[in-house]
């Protein structure tokens, strides 16, 4: 036996664990993420159908009525066969209308009628209250069994324990299911907790069954054999021998068939909590399998209990008593926990559902009638807490009041019969187009009243609450109205009797109302939605482009004010944004009436998720978004559409249905295909990326000539990494470098090693991020190769060099080609020098000869002869200059010209050069003007070469100047720290496009429309080379009307 405190502690611990799991699920913690939107969890959630009644009551029923208990589970199995059609339809309607409960569903179908919602809530209240009582009865009776030696199974007065249990049930219901207002009314955390409870329930019952069958007896066969020989055998089979056995069996089956959908908790777990239609497929076999397993040991346990000598009145507790009194108290505790799980999950789900229904369909309409209750709208959550607590307390009270007279199973069937009243309106609502609000109200009311009269009131009588005269003689002695023999029907058992009459009245009035009352136009629209829902889940697209005339801000404000009546300000604002986003109009200022209709629908749906469709509809009607003008415009819009399409409304509907169905199918296929395509695209993209990277790597490191090194900054440069292609380039393998630690320095040519080392040190000291070198390395086969090494310096955080990354390429071929070229240039230069010398010698002799003849020392020369001799002399001079230019240029190009750079005064160089050219200027009747800056610093220069440059420039100026002065000037350029020399002539300008060609070799430009002759086209190219060698610059500025200026600079601090 266990102390009450121990059992309560286990109970609290168990519920705490469940709560933690529920919390983790709601917060989407990684390791429980898979439990969300899981078909198995969904299916296990449905097992809330198997309550304490199943757990304890089925055994009790089996002990007295044999296999009759099984109908309660066969009935749902029969209904489940149609679930893919039926339940899927309900789920789609739920998603479309944001249905929150069974009352909400019925109301939504029948024109969102608050009256129907209230009526359905009332029926559900009366129908489920006994069920709550049943669960409490089971908890208390088993609690007493497990904590006392007595096996009294009646509801006892366990002192404070009952209040503690009731209090805890209220607490757990609120924290599990009503912690906050959820517009979807889905509670994934709670559903996981319920699924675990149902798993525990199944496990515990299987443990009890295995214990009874295989520890107390030798299996099923042994129990069945012993039982068939016992005195109880006729007792169990007698139930099926009576005249009404068929009727009872059928009644139970029908009740169970409807209960699986119509019980509020079942509707919640199967319809409201469904997140994916496809889960229905799994639930269609998983849930029947669950029922199959939980019932397989019921009959053996019942038989075993009777065989062990327990009385039939104790049958409800056989499952607990057998392990408890046969030396297995821990098995009994597990069984108790299983039964407790069954009861708590049922109480929590039912109370939560009823709290939603009571607040949405009873309280909110009352708030509408009594304005002074308006403040409650803002406290909807607290109202739900109070409703849940009130419902549980009333359930407990009801159990205390009337529960003593019935066994557990009878209370359950009263509830089943009550919710059966929903079956016609639900089935008719989704399959019968003619069904309407009037019929639903009439049918539900009639069925409920008959149920009340024929089943509930007799239960009160049997509990001693009402005089038994009613059942014996009928009201006022009229036996015709006897609740259990209504209108003289005496052949049926009380339950079948109540079911028969309630259904007859319910269906009768429902059909009557449908035939005699006409549906309103709005109701007709809902009918279309409900009946044709399986054809499509796609909503209408905006029908046509309309002018945007409605100011969105005003309407959004109205919607927000409406939301504020029920929710906090921040939540209201967020909901309004959600509505606007859903319609895609969040950034608009004005919208069309069609879009306004969409906004209204969205707001209504969102509100319906929290307060039910009927209340939401009424709230929107009370504060309509549409003005009369807007309503008229909307009507006109729809009329226009019909007129444009030239089809009758029915024809349009049929076509829309057809295309919506096609769209739904195509959308789904497209989504599936899209998903696959996206998956494949991702795979292809990833593969392509990887292949490209691989190719690049191959190209760089395997197939390419560049070898990548990573050297440590240590003596000899040990190699830390080298690319695979090193073998091809160096002849060494990667292993030889890495594992055998061949130092990189050891393969550098001994002649290059010193300067390479110094160069690296120098670059490292300078802080350069990288440097380049060309040196020789020795391949593994001893062959020397020239390499180009681009080295990147890798430094640590403190600036110390840790590594070098080198990109090394073999340039041996280039170097060889370069060497050959240099040799060829050398040969060419020698050849030119020889030729030049050989040419200059005779030319000098010719020139001197001519000069001698002209001087008259060789005889008298006539004027004509003089003229000829002058021409010859000038041609010889020209030829000499040409040879000198060619020789100079070749020397410069081959870098063979030696510059003797010495500090010198540039002004003296200018003066000297000018003096040399003064006769020529005079000859051409031009003035040479020299403007020299004073106190110029000395510059390092080769006087002869600078003189050559100046001579060339001044000579050019003289050539291209017809008249005017040629100015030669010097100046110091402070910004550049150099001396600038300019030669200006007032001659014609040089074209802009020609300036770029000016310093190119063999270029002779036309100036002033004529080409001057007598030049080689190498003069300026030589000048440029000479100035470059001095690390100076040379350029030209030429402007029309202002002449041309050649400038060159010589650095004052030249290293050259």
């Amino acid at each position: 036996m266990f102390s009450p405190l121990a059992v309560i502690t286990v109970f609290c611990l168990y519920m705490s664990i469940l709560f933690v799991i529920a919390l983790l699920v709601e917060r989407r913690i990684h390791f429980v993420k898979n439990l969300v939107n899981n078909p198995v969890i969904y299916s296990l959630g449905m097992a809330v159908y198997c309550t304490a009644w199943t757990y304890y009551g089925s055994v009790g029923k089996a002990a007295t009525s044999g296999m009759l208990f099984i109908t309660i589970y066969l009935g749902p199995t029969l209904t489940i066969i149609f679930w893919w059609t039926l339940l899927r339809k309900l789920v789609r309607i739920k998603s479309t209308y944001r249905i929150t409960s069974i009352a909400d569903f019925i109301s939504a179908r029948y024109n969102k009628s608050p009256a129907i919602a209230a009526l359905a809530t009332t029926i559900a209240f009366f129908g489920t209250l006994p069920y709550i009582a049943l669960q409490f009865k089971a908890i208390f009776s088993t609690f007493k069994v497990i904590t006392q030696t007595s096996a009294d199974s009646s509801i006892g007065h366990g002192g404070n324990v009952t209040y503690i249990v009731v209090g805890l049930m209220i607490l757990f219901t609120i924290i599990f299911g009503i912690r906050r207002l959820d517009p979807t009314e889905r509670h994934q955390g709670m559903m996981v907790a319920v699924a675990i409870e149902n798993t525990v329930q199944l496990f515990a019952f299987l443990v009890a069954g295995i214990f009874v069958c295989y520890f107390l007896y030798h299996g099923f066969g042994d129990i069945l054999r012993q039982f068939s020989e016992s005195r109880f055998y006729p007792l169990m089979s007698a139930a099926s021998k009576g005249n009404s056995s068929f009727t009872i069996w059928t009644t139970y089956t029908i009740l169970a068939m409807s209960a699986i959908i119509c019980l509020p908790r079942q509707f919640h777990t199967t319809v409201v909590e469904n997140t994916n239609e496809k889960h229905i497929r799994t639930a269609m076999w998983f849930f029947p399998l669950y029922m199959f397993l939980i019932n397989i040991f019921v009959l053996p346990i019942a038989m075993s209990g009777l065989l062990k000598g327990y009385s039939v009145s104790q049958a409800d507790n056989f499952v607990l008593l057998l392990p408890l009194y046969h030396g297995k108290p821990w098995v009994a505790l597990v069984v108790f926990l299983g039964g407790f799980s069954a009861a708590t999950s049922m109480i929590m789900i039912t109370s939560m559902t009823m709290a939603t229904m009571i607040t949405n369909h009873l309280l909110l309409p009352m708030i509408g009638w009594f304005r002074w209750l308006g403040g409650l709208r803002r406290n909807l959550l607290k109202c739900r807490w109070i409703a849940a607590a009130g419902f549980i307390i009333v359930g407990y009270w009801f159990g205390q009041l009337v529960g003593e007279s019935y066994m557990l199973v009878n209370i359950g069937l009263i509830a089943f019969a009550a919710v059966l009243q929903f079956a016609p309106v639900i089935l008719g609502g989704i399959f019968w187009r003619r069904a309407n609000k009037a019929g639903a109200i009439m049918g539900l009311s009639a069925g409920f009243i008959v149920w009340l009269y024929t089943l509930l009131i007799p239960s009160f009588v049997k509990s001693g609450w009402v005089s038994s005269f009613l059942l014996e003689k009928g009201p006022w002695g009229i036996s015709f109205l006897n609740p259990e023999h209504l209108f003289g029907v005496v052949t049926l058992d009380p339950l079948s009797h109540a079911v028969f009459w309630s259904m007859l009245f319910n269906i009768g009035f429902y059909v009557l109302g449908a035939f005699y009352c006409k549906s309103s136009e709005e109701e007709q629209r809902h009918i279309d939605d409900f009946i044709g829902i399986s054809k499509s889940v796609v909503s209408f697209a905006p029908p046509a482009e309309r002018e945007n005339t409605v100011i969105l801000n005003e309407k959004a404000e109205r919607v927000e004010n409406l939301f504020k009546q029920y929710f906090p300000v921040l939540e209201s604002e967020s909901m309004v944004k959600k509505c606007l986003c859903a319609q895609g109009i969040e950034s608009r200022e004005k919208i069309s009436v069609v879009e306004l209709a969409g906004l209204q629908n969205e707001a209504e749906k969102l509100l319906a998720g929290s307060i039910g469709t009927a209340a939401a509809h009424k709230a929107l009607q009370a504060g309509p978004l549409f003005t009369d003008k807007e309503s008229l415009e909307l009507s006109t819009t729809y009329a226009d559409i019909l007129a444009t399409l030239k089809v009758a409304p029915q024809e349009l509907k049929r076509k829309v249905d057809f295309y919506q169905e096609r769209t739904a199918l195509l959308t789904q296929h497209a989504e599936e295909l899209g998903g696959k395509v996206r998956e494949l695209e991702n795979q292809v993209a990833e593969r392509k990326k990887a292949e490209e990277a691989l190719q690049e790597e191959r190209r760089l490191f395997v197939g390419g000539t560049t070898v990548v090194f990573k050297w440590k900054n240590e003596p000899g440069w040990p190699v830390e990494y080298v690319s695979q292609n090193v073998k091809g380039q160096f002849g060494y393998t990667v292993e030889e470098f890495i594992e055998k630690q061949i130092l990189y320095a050891s393969i550098i040519h001994s002649e290059d090693l010193d300067w390479v080392t110094e160069d690296i040190k120098m670059h490292s000291r300078s802080g350069a991020p990288y440097f380049e070198q060309e040196y020789r390395i020795a391949r593994a086969d001893g062959q020397y190769r020239w390499i180009y090494d681009f080295t990147v310096v890798i430094r640590a955080g403190d600036g110390q060099i840790t590594h070098y990354h080198g990109y090394v390429s073999d340039i041996t071929e280039r170097r060889e080609a370069q060497e050959k070229l240099e040799e060829a240039m050398e040969v060419k230069l020698k050849f030119i020098s020889v030729v030049s010398h050989e040419l200059r010698t005779p030319l000098t002799a010719i020139r001197e000869g001519i000069s001698l003849v002209l001087s008259g020392k060789a005889g008298v020369v006539t004027d004509v002869q003089k003229e000829f001799l002058h021409d010859v002399k000038s041609s010889v001079d020209r030829l000499t200059r040409l040879i000198n230019d060619v020789l100079d240029f070749q020397k410069l190009e081959a870098k063979k010209m030696v510059f003797n750079l010495q500090p010198a005064d540039i002004n003296s160089v200018i003066t000297e050069a000018t003096q040399q050219l003064a006769p020529l200027a005079r000859e051409r009747k031009l003035n040479l003007i020299v403007k020299l800056a004073q106190n110029l610093p000395q510059a390092k220069l080769d006087k002869d070469r600078i003189t050559q440059v100046l001579t060339n420039l001044v000579d050019n100026a003289l050539k291209y100047t017809e008249r005017g002065d040629i100015t030669i000037s010097s100046a110091k350029d402070e910004t550049q720290d150099c001396i600038c020399v300019s030669v200006h002539n007032p001659g014609s300008e040089i074209k802009k496009e020609d300036i770029e060609k000016l310093f190119q070799k063999f270029e002779q430009l036309e100036r002033g429309g004529k080409r001057k002759t007598g030049g080689t086209g190498l003069g300026l190219a030589i000048c440029k080379e000479i100035i470059d060698q001095h690390r100076g610059k040379i350029w030209v500025v030429s402007k029309a009307g202002k002449g041309t200026t050649f400038n060159f600079t010589i650095p004052i601090k030249s290293d050259g």
Binding site: F246, L299, E661
Partner: protein
């Protein structure tokens, strides 16, 4: 086997299965064993198990579409 799979995909199969279940779970089939609780137990659980197996087969062979 393929034929059986096609049959299981048939949407009308649920109607046939329902009718079959109804016949199995009510009179007159039950009357043959209703006097012996043990026999009835075995019969009902076998029939029930068979229906569940059928439902599993229907699920595994169902076309994964939403049409209805």
């Amino acid at each position: 086997m393929k034929k059986l799979k096609n049959i299981l995909k048939n949407k009308e199969l649920s109607i046939i299965l329902f009718c079959l279940s109804l016949v199995l779970f009510v009179w007159p089939f039950l009357s043959s064993c209703h006097e012996n609780p043990a026999m009835m137990f075995v019969y009902l659980f076998l029939a029930w198990g068979a229906i569940i197996v059928f439902l599993i087969l229907m699920d595994t062979n169902s076309e994964k579409d939403s049409s209805g």
